[in-house]
Symmetry: C2
Subunit: 379 residues, 2 copies
């Protein structure tokens, strides 16, 4: 954990000026810090070099202040070569799925970020924990509650930290929503809705359309955002859920859900409405409170997000959400900062996902949920 | 129908300049027409002088170009006196609920606008038709499909026109949405949602909270707007519906529904999501299409409405929706212009409302609907 890359060093310098400095939209050479702060940087290995790692996480790791790219795990030798060159990674920090467990001996790697198809999250999160590495698990946490339990238990047993790849909990619009809810700025929330959807027309052989690999369709991929919007949009866990599934392109969505609507009941009768789809575009969080309302639209894409309330706009400078998320996890590991998105959050959402699928199988019947009210919230 | 009030006369003058002249935001003395056009004006009697008549319809009838306030029906003598004075109405055009049928002999009254509590719509719409008067019926059309059938049949038998008080079909934002759908500006609609809700905290003895008078709560009062948003937001009639009811203030909403979510399936699998409540504020139409989206927010209040699409904003000058609506109905009667919101539209919506209540009673089960695809659309 003592490694400090050149890049993270320069970030430290810039941060030395006055604590938290907003760097996201500034070129690094604009930051003028007189002295470097001695600080650790978390070495992260990415497991799975698909488009999310390639286009989001790796670029974000060039901006992070408290963590850096320390290794890669891929089954594709050509990808390994490309990444080694691009990110200056030595061969000793490059693994494939056969050699993965040797990562235990790699002191440069402090944490493993599992960015594989959903059905492989549990296996690699558990193997990472068993290798003594902290774990970031991309969402959804797994493809069943049982898998979530197994991951949480493996991390507990190994004494490593576990965080979910729920980037929104580290970005300011979502944090502002959580503040409005926590401080009851507009009184109690009465209705909250989350839409999380995008039209999928890509390669029909992609793993997301293969239930064995994805565990499900729109709900697994995007629906968790809509469910989360409702949860942090009212600050409570749901006590019941009903749901319906809709299909218009069964030849494309052969195996996975295309569109799902779900209805959440929260304590006190707060109503939550969830929409997720891979056959439409929608991206909104809206909540109506006793004395006002708030809205994010878009609410859950990579940003810039946009927000407004009954009192005026919500506005923050845009930064890479993945950068903020990984830095938050690094500070959790390095300095004991709050875990923004703990494993329990991923498990809680999977409990709701399973209940949604069950309601659909049972004709839209309302399924009671037995989630403790304080379970699964991040710091 | 030959009566022409001073007000409508001056409007005709202004209209003489160049056909359709936008008058709504101009004081009348700004309109300079050289000659009056000989034209009829429809005499409308308002039945029920509650807040909607008082605050919306009567002021609108001072702006209309093709109709005017010709009579009133009220059970409250003090209201009658106030209105007679304020709107210069002679005693011979003032009725109460006992003398109502004598309106048949009042040549000044061409049409009767039923603005009573929902459970009284059918009786007075039918009596108006039997008196030989055209009928505008406030929404919801009645409190059952059977009532809607009876109204439609009475108007057919009497040979009078029947229109619903669905003001939005006459205002430009809604018409623009219908155009975008009709012309497939953004391709086919895949997902459409309607939110129609406002927080009710008023007099607990109001008729809206009394099911015998209202027939139901949020769904009857506002839900029809959300259902309508989905219908004109995709240009089709739904083929199935499921729904759920939520309650948090049962002591206030003793007798009527507080919040309802409903899910509509349209031909081709288009998904419609309906939210209505008297315990939250929400007012939105959103649709995602194959190659874009459109949104109104607010979508169904008295305006000004606000809209945007994936190509840019929707913007029209604000006019009284009720003025536009009553003028459209007048032109339908006087000149055979299209009926924007025919009785069949009111009946169609009541079929859906009844199915929503049935789904709720049956635990959220999906209820098939058997509405012809061309049924209930206005011109």
């Amino acid at each position: 954990m003592e490694k400090m890359s050149r890049r993270s060093f320069s970030n430290k310098v810039s941060q030395g000026v006055a604590g938290t400095v907003f760097l996201g939209s500034l070129p690094l050479n604009c930051a003028m810090g007189p002295a470097a702060r001695s600080q650790q940087s978390l070495g992260i290995a990415l497991v799975g070099l698909g488009s999310y790692s390639t286009n989001q996480l790796a670029p974000a790791l060039e901006q992070t202040q408290h963590c850096h790219l320390a290794g890669i795990v891929t089954g594709t030798p050509s990808k390994a070569r490309t990444w080694m060159q691009k990110y200056d990674i030595e061969e000793s920090h490059v693994y494939n799925y056969e050699t993965f467990d040797q990562i235990a001996n790699d002191a440069s790697v402090d944490a493993v970020y599992v960015v594989l198809p959903n059905s492989m999250h549990a296996e690699y999160a558990i193997r990472a924990a068993q290798a003594g590495k902290h774990v970031i698990c991309e969402k959804p946490m797994g493809i069943s509650v049982a898998e979530c339990d197994a991951i949480i238990e493996a991390c507990r047993k190994a004494g490593v930290k576990l965080g979910m790849g729920y980037r929104l909990h580290s970005e300011p619009y979502t944090q502002e929503i959580k503040r409005l809810v926590r401080e009851k700025t507009f009184g109690d929330v009465r209705y909250v809705m989350g839409e999380a959807a995008y039209i999928s027309r890509g390669n029909p052989d992609q793993w997301r359309l293969n239930k064995a690999l994805s565990g499900g369709g729109a709900l697994m991929n995007m629906g968790v955002y809509a469910v989360q919007s409702c949860i942090y949009g009212c600050g409570k866990n749901p006590v019941a859920v009903s749901a319906q599934e809709f299909s218009t392109r069964p030849d494309y969505f052969k195996d996975t859900d295309e569109t799902i609507l779900a209805q959440l009941t929260f304590p006190g009768g707060i109503v939550g409405s969830v929409m997720t789809s891979h056959n439409a575009n929608a991206n909104r969080l809206y909540a109506s409170c006793d004395s006002g309302w708030f809205e994010l639209n878009p609410a859950n894409n990579y940003g810039p997000l946009s927000g407004r309330t009954s009192s005026g706009p919500i506005q923050f400078p845009h930064e890479s959400q993945q950068k903020l998320q990984m830095d938050d996890f690094a500070l959790h590991v390095l300095e004991g900062a709050p875990n923004r998105a703990p494993g329990e959050m991923g498990k809680r959402d999977m409990i709701i996902v399973e209940a949604i699928y069950r309601s659909i199988r049972e004709g839209g019947r309302t399924i009671p949920l037995d989630i403790p009210q304080d379970y699964g919230f991040g710091g």
